[in-house]
């Protein structure tokens, strides 16, 4: 595919500001414009994969994935279990690196720099590319400490500022009213949906640019799912979201762009509307219409 086919995916896609002639980012940025749009002057695609292949030992999980993730959009990754979409997602913040036998080919670029480049600091990378998991995974510490765990680790704030951060992030995910009187309590007494929102608050607190979500609502009831989905939609375009989901309705509801994986291959990708309504490939059509699980 070509880069241009990614533009115009949805209303949240920022314009590609690179000089069409040279392909370079524009020169010095006007501070006023910078204040209005901090992403101005940065590459339009926050993440790009170039011929990405992933293997565990001898087993090839995915091969030759070329994909662009425009800044500020929500991309859904769909496909049957074992199709490689979770492995793909976990590669983007290098969660697979320490899995034994993991090998990659090609490259993943974050703001045009390889995530495996020697100067990339893994911890800083993960601050920029956050993650929300299949099931809520609060840490064994108080609700407040959960929200600021990453903030403390990255030394973004300290002391009284942490309380401010905790409140701000709990408000952002709509958990403040439920949690304000029990900030010192165990997070394990919250409901599953509340725990997942707490984990979202924790991930947002370090100020990521990209949020990877691995079936974030698969363990939640419908009401909590609706809450989390609403939250995710509100996060773009400030953030770029990449969501693995088995819930096709969810993919349609929240995403601008959908990738369909099948059996280790990226079968088809495109604007969500198009992929669901007019899939090019037979496999895609069978999957999105429910004739293949």
């Amino acid at each position: 595919m070509t880069e241009s086919s990614n533009n115009g995916v949805g209303p949240n896609v920022p314009l590609d500001r690179r000089d069409p002639a040279t392909g370079q980012a524009p020169g010095p940025v006007d501070p006023a414009l910078e204040a209005i749009d901090p992403d101005r002057g940065r590459p339009a695609n926050v993440i790009a994969t170039r011929g990405l292949s992933l293997r565990f030992g001898d087993k090839t999980i995915l091969s030759g994935i070329d994909m662009l993730f425009p800044r500020g959009t929500i991309t859904a990754l769909i496909g049957p279990t074992g199709s490689g979409k979770s492995t793909f997602l976990r590669t983007l913040n290098r969660m697979n690196d320490k899995v034994s036998g993991f090998r990659y080919g090609g490259d993943v670029l974050l703001d045009d720099e390889s995530i495996w480049a020697s100067h990339q600091d893994l911890l800083a990378l993960r601050r920029r590319v956050g993650m929300l998991f299949q099931r809520p995974n609060p840490f064994p510490m108080s609700i407040r400490d959960n929200v600021v765990a990453g903030v403390k680790a990255h030394r973004i704030a300290k002391g009284k500022q942490l309380d401010v951060v905790a409140e701000e992030r709990l408000r952002q995910v709509g958990l403040w009213d439920a949690a304000k009187d029990r900030l010192g309590d165990s997070p394990f007494r919250l409901s599953g949906g509340q725990q997942q929102l707490l984990c979202l608050a924790r991930a947002l607190a370090v100020g990521p640019e990209v949020l990877l979500l691995d079936e974030p609502t698969s363990s939640l009831d419908p009401i909590s799912t609706e809450n989390v989905e609403a939250m995710l939609k509100s996060l773009a375009p400030a953030l770029t979201l990449i969501v693995v989901t088995h819930n096709l309705g969810q993919a349609r509801r929240v995403s601008h762009h959908t990738m369909f994986f099948y059996d280790g291959a990226l079968v088809e990708h495109g604007p969500t509307e198009v992929l669901f309504e007019h899939p090019r490939e037979d496999q895609t059509e069978r999957y999105v219409t429910g004739r293949m699980g």
């Binding site: 990378l125 601050r127 995974n137 840490f139 990453g150 394990f188 924790r202 370090v206």
Partner: protein, 318 residues
């Protein structure tokens, strides 16, 4: 029914001890806990009566040095053993390849099965002298003369004493704490740890803030298990402590004694006391040991209860 047997055995043994120790408790009074002399008196001479209890003239029982020695050696053992055990358990579950991990686990379990008399003998004949010759002098020479650290200054002695006892005890409780901690670490679900990694926490932060707190109460339990063993360990300490009765060591290397070691080392001579008072005093010593162990256990339960409120509920599914 089966559940009643251990509790019944505990109560029965304490009751028997208390009955045996009764006369000694009456005569020795508070001096037993605060005094620093352990004398049988003249077992061939005159018999004295105090509160209607017969005991040899000149007998006096003050067990404070033994109680202090027990607490000191156990504390040293814990200070050495807990970090080593946690480190070993962490390496076994998180760091080492599976094949190496299972070999080392087997080694640790073997160490747990070595009879304490063997460890004691090795400590007295090999480890103690080696430490006193090659290690202690270096430590002692480099310690500044400031509080706490001056406790590590000369003289270093010949290898029998408090520090050697603590090290030998540590060796004996490391397998207990390490194997329990390993099982606990293995139970910590992957998802919260991955959450920490994905947030950009270092491995050390993940361990300190997620893995350790996740099993905090279990780790305290494992430590108390080790402490119980250290407090009660007898024969190895009788062999490496110097088995003194009346002295609290002025520095960390000095010879000393513990309650358990004193009971075994004093039993023979106590039988020479025809009035039975020396035996009663040894029974009182045993009673003190059981009470100290009980208190330690209760304290641990209290700590577990206090810190448990934030950790994960047992059996949380991930």
């Amino acid at each position: 029914m089966a559940a009643v047997i251990p509790a019944g055995a505990l109560i029965a043994s304490v009751v028997v001890l208390a009955t045996k120790a009764g006369p000694a408790v009456r005569v020795n009074g508070a001096h037993f806990l605060t005094g620093s002399d352990w004398k049988l008196g003249n077992t061939y001479g005159a018999i004295q009566h105090t509160d209607g209890v017969a005991h040899p003239l000149g007998s006096s029982y003050g067990a404070w040095p033994l109680i202090a020695g027990t607490l000191q050696s156990s504390a040293i053992a814990l200070i050495i053993a807990v970090p080593i055990s946690l480190g070993a358990a962490f390496a076994l579950t998180e760091r080492l390849p599976r094949w190496l991990s299972s070999i080392l686990r087997f080694g640790i379990e073997l160490l747990a099965g070595v009879p304490s008399v063997l460890i004691g003998l090795w400590g007295a004949l090999t480890l103690g002298p080696l430490l006193a010759r090659d290690v202690y002098p270096i430590v002692a020479d480099h310690m500044p003369n400031v509080p706490v650290l001056s406790y590590f200054k000369n003289p270093v002695g010949h290898g029998e004493g408090l520090l050697t006892s603590g090290i030998v005890l540590a060796l004996m409780i490391v397998p207990i704490i390490a194997s329990t901690a390993r099982n606990l670490f293995a139970q910590v679900p992957a998802l919260p740890k991955e959450g920490g990694e994905a947030l950009g926490l270092t491995d050390w932060e993940v361990t300190r803030k997620i893995t350790l707190p996740w099993v905090r109460s279990g780790l305290i339990g494992a430590t108390v298990l080790g402490l119980g063993r250290a407090l009660g360990e007898t024969i190895a300490i009788a062999m490496v402590s110097g088995a003194l009765l009346n002295t609290i060591t002025p520095n960390v290397y000095g010879t000393m004694g513990t309650v358990a070691a004193a009971i075994v080392s004093q039993l023979d001579s106590a039988f020479t006391d025809g009035t039975g008072f020396a035996i009663a005093s040894l029974a009182e010593l045993a009673l003190v040991l059981s009470i100290v162990s009980l208190l330690v256990n209760m304290l641990a339960r209290f700590i577990v209860h206090r810190t448990d409120s934030l950790s994960a509920p047992v059996g949380v599914g991930f």
